[in-house]
Amino acid sequence: MSTRHQFEYVGTRPIRHDGMDKVTGRAAFGADFSLPGMLYGAVLRSPHAHARIVSIDTTAAEALPGVKAVVTGRDIAKTNKKVYLGGEGALDLADMGDNALAHEKALYHGHAIAAVAASSLEIAQEAARLIRVDFEVLEPAMTLERALAKDAPILHPEMTTGGKPLEHMTGPTNIAARMEIKRGDVEAGFAEADLVVEHEFRTPMVHQGYIEPHATVARAGADGRIVVWTTTQAPFLVRDACAGILHLDAANIRVIPSEIGGGFGGKIPVYLEPLAIVLSKKSGRPVKMVMDRDEVFRATGPTSGCHITMKLGAKRDGTLVAASASMWYEAGAYKGSPFGAAAMCALACYNIPNFFVESHDVVLNKPKVAAYRAPGSPMATFATESLVDEIARRLKIDPIELRLKNAVASGDHAPYGPKYGPIGLKQVLEAAQAHPHWSAPLKPNQGRGVACGFWFNAGMNSSATVSVDSDGSATVVTGNPDIGGMRAAQALMVSEELGIPVERVRPVVADTDTAGYTDLTAGSRVCYATGMAVINAAEDAREQLRLRAAKVWKLEPDQVVWEHGEARSLIAGDDRQPMTLATIASTLAKTGGPIIGRASVNAPMAGPAFSANICDLEVDPDTGCSKVVRYTTVQDAGRAVHPSFVEGQMQGGASQGIGWALNEEYVFNAKGAMENAGFLDYRMPVASDLPMIDTVIVEVANPSHPYGVRGVGEVPIVPPLAAVANAMRGATGVRFGQLPMSPPRVLAELEARKEEPAVALSSGS
C-alpha cells in the first residue's frame, strides 16, 4: 500500500466541527443528560482498605421514604469465565465486575459495597449511610514491600503467579504474574562494559486527573432492552462488559457515548454502568449516577506506583552493551498492572546486545489500576533515561549524541522481538539537537535535561460509513468518542478523498446500535485505525461516484477518472464538462439511489512513535521549590492530519508528565485511606506553573497507513519524568530516583549534599 505524500486538505488546521457547541456550553457531557422520572444513585464505599464482608443489612435504607432500589454484591452473581476485553490482562471481566461491586471482600478504601437509587440524590446518600455492613477488618497491604513480605496479608487466596513464575513463587501470593524478556549474555555484557551505573527508582501511584467525573444514566425497559448514556472511551467495551458482568445479552444493551471530558485510559473500564443498570431493573425507572471528585480519586483506576532497580553498562565511547532491570508494578486490588508493557518499553529506544528484564504484577490494597496514557512506559523510561543521562555525564559525551549512537532504526530488533519498520527516533533526536533550546544559555540554579520515549500504538477494529448527501456534502459516521479533536481529523480525510472542502463534511460520533463495531478510543489508535476505515469508506464512496458519472455519460468505467472533487472523462477531445460531486449528488435518486461508502478494518499495530523532550528547570536552593522555565517536545507523528491537535497531544502529555515528576502522588494514611483525594492536595499543574510548551512535529511515514499516520496520543507522556529529573540533576547535582521531586525531598537532598560535596548517586529513599 503506497503511502501518499502530497495533500490538499490533510495537514491544514480547520476549526473543529464540534467546536461551536463546546465554546458556547451546548456540548452535552455525561452529567448533562437527564430523563423524566429519573432516580438518582449513590454508592456506599468501604471505609476499610482490606476487610471481609460478613453481612449487609439494607432494611433501614430500603425503608427510607423515596428509596426505590438497593443493590449489593448479592444481586450480581460473580462472573467466573475469563474474558479479556481488548486483550489486556487489566480488562478481566470477573475482576472488573467485582471491582464495580464487591462480593466477598472489600479490597481497598473506597471499594463499592452497595448502591441505592432514590427520588433525590440527598435521599440516596442518606440511605447509603443507613446501610449496615458487618466487616471483618483485615490488615491491609499498602506498600509493595508489605505485599511481598513472607507474612503479607493475601488479597486473593486462590490466586497463583501467572506468566513465568520463579520456583519459589508457589502457594498463596500477591504476585499476580511475572514475565521476563532477555537477549544475549547479560553477565558477559556487563563484564565487557567500561562503566556500569545502577540505581533504584520509585514512582508514586498517580491519577489520570480528567476534569469530568464519571457519569452515567441507565434505563432498563420492561422488554429487557437496556439503554446506557455514559461518558466513556469505549462504548462497545461498556456494552460487552455490562453484558458479561450482569449475565445479559449484549444485543439488548445500547451504549450511547456523551461528549467525554477527558479519560487518558481511565474511562475504559466500567464502574457505574453495571450499578445503574441493576438499579434501573430493580426500580423500573431510569437511574442517574455521577461520581464526586473524592470517589474518582479513591475508586477509579490510577496508574501503578512502582519500584524499579536498573543497571546499564556502556563502553568508554558510549556504546551500551548490557542492561538488567527488576520491575515491580502495583496492580491495586486486582491483577492487571501494565508490568508487561513496561518491560517491553524500557529499552525500546536502544540497540542493547545483552539484557535481562524481569517484571512483576503485584496486588495490594489500593484502587484497581487502569490504563494511563502509554501504561507502564513512563515509569520504565524514567529509569532508563535517568541512567543513560548519568552515563553521558560520567563519560562527558553530549546526552543527545550518546542517545543517537545507540538509537534504534528501521530493521533493528525491538527488545520484545520483532524488527522495527521505518521509525523516526534518530530524526526526532536530531531535530531536538538542532532546536535553539538545546544550545540556549542557562541562568544560575537552572539545569537542562533531555529524554526520549517510545510507545507501541494500537491497531484493532474500526468501522466507518461515508454517505454523500444531495447537496454534495458528506457525513462520516464512526463509533469513537472524540476525546481530542478526532472529528476534525476524520473530516480532513474525507475532504482529501472526495475533494470537497472540510466544512462540507459532517463528522458524527454514533452509538453501539448505529455505528459498526469499533474498538476503544485509546491506544493512540483512533486517527490511525478509525482513520484508515474512514479513508477506505471515502474511497468506496468516491468509486461509486465515479461509476455513477460513467453511467450518466454512458462511458465505460475505465474512461472516467476522479480528481479534485470531480469526475472527468478520459476521452481525447471530449468536450464534456467535468461532473462535480455536487452535480452527481443532486440527481442520485434518478441515477440509481443513495451513495454510501463503508469500510471496516482490523488494523495491525500503528507503527511505534518516538518522542524527545528538553526541559529547563530552575530550583530555589533555599526551599527546594522548582519551576519548569522552558520545555520543548519533538515527536514523530508519521503524518500530522490536523497539526493543532497533534501539538495539543504533545503539550498535554508533557504537562501530565511534569506534574507526575514534581508534585502528583497518592498519599495514604496508616489505615490505608487516601489523604489527598481532591484537586487542592492532589497537585496537578496549573496555568501559572508552566511555560509555553514548544512543539516540533517530525514526519517519518508509517507504511501500514495510506497517509503514513502513526499514533500520537500516548508517547507524549513518556519522556517528561526523566527529562525533568535530568534537568533537576543538572540544576542540583542530585540524581533523584524517587518521584515526585517535591520541595521537601529536594531540600533534604540539598542539605545532605552540603555535608559531602562529592556527587554521589542518592539512594531511592
Binding site: G87, G89, A341, M344, P375, P418, S704
Partner: protein, 81 residues
C-alpha cells in the same frame, strides 16, 4: 519456512527451545503445529498473544498469510490508555 521466535512464557513448554523454523501457509496452521508438537502449549495461550509478521504486529493474525522467509514473533497484546 517461517522463522518463529517463541515468547519467554512458552520456553518451559518447549524445553527451552526458543527459535524454530515451521512451514505453514498461515498463522492459524503455524499455531496448530506448535500446539501439536508441544503439548504444554495451549491454544488459550496463543489467544492472548499478538503475532508480529516481519515487524507488523497483529492482534488477530490467524488467517494472515506467511511468506517463505517470514519472521514471526509472539508478543503480549497491548491496547493502551
Amino acid at each position: 519456512m517461517a522463522r518463529v521466535f517463541l515468547s519467554n512464557e512458552m520456553l518451559s513448554g518447549t524445553g527451552g527451545l526458543d527459535v524454530l523454523d515451521i512451514d505453514a501457509p498461515r498463522v492459524h496452521e503455524l499455531v496448530a503445529q506448535l500446539v501439536a508438537r508441544f503439548p504444554r502449549l495451549t491454544p488459550e495461550m496463543f489467544d492472548r498473544l499478538a503475532v508480529a509478521i516481519d515487524g507488523e504486529i497483529h492482534n488477530d493474525a490467524d488467517y494472515l498469510p506467511l511468506a517463505a522467509d517470514s519472521e514471526v514473533h509472539f508478543v503480549p497484546r497491548i491496547a493502551g490508555g
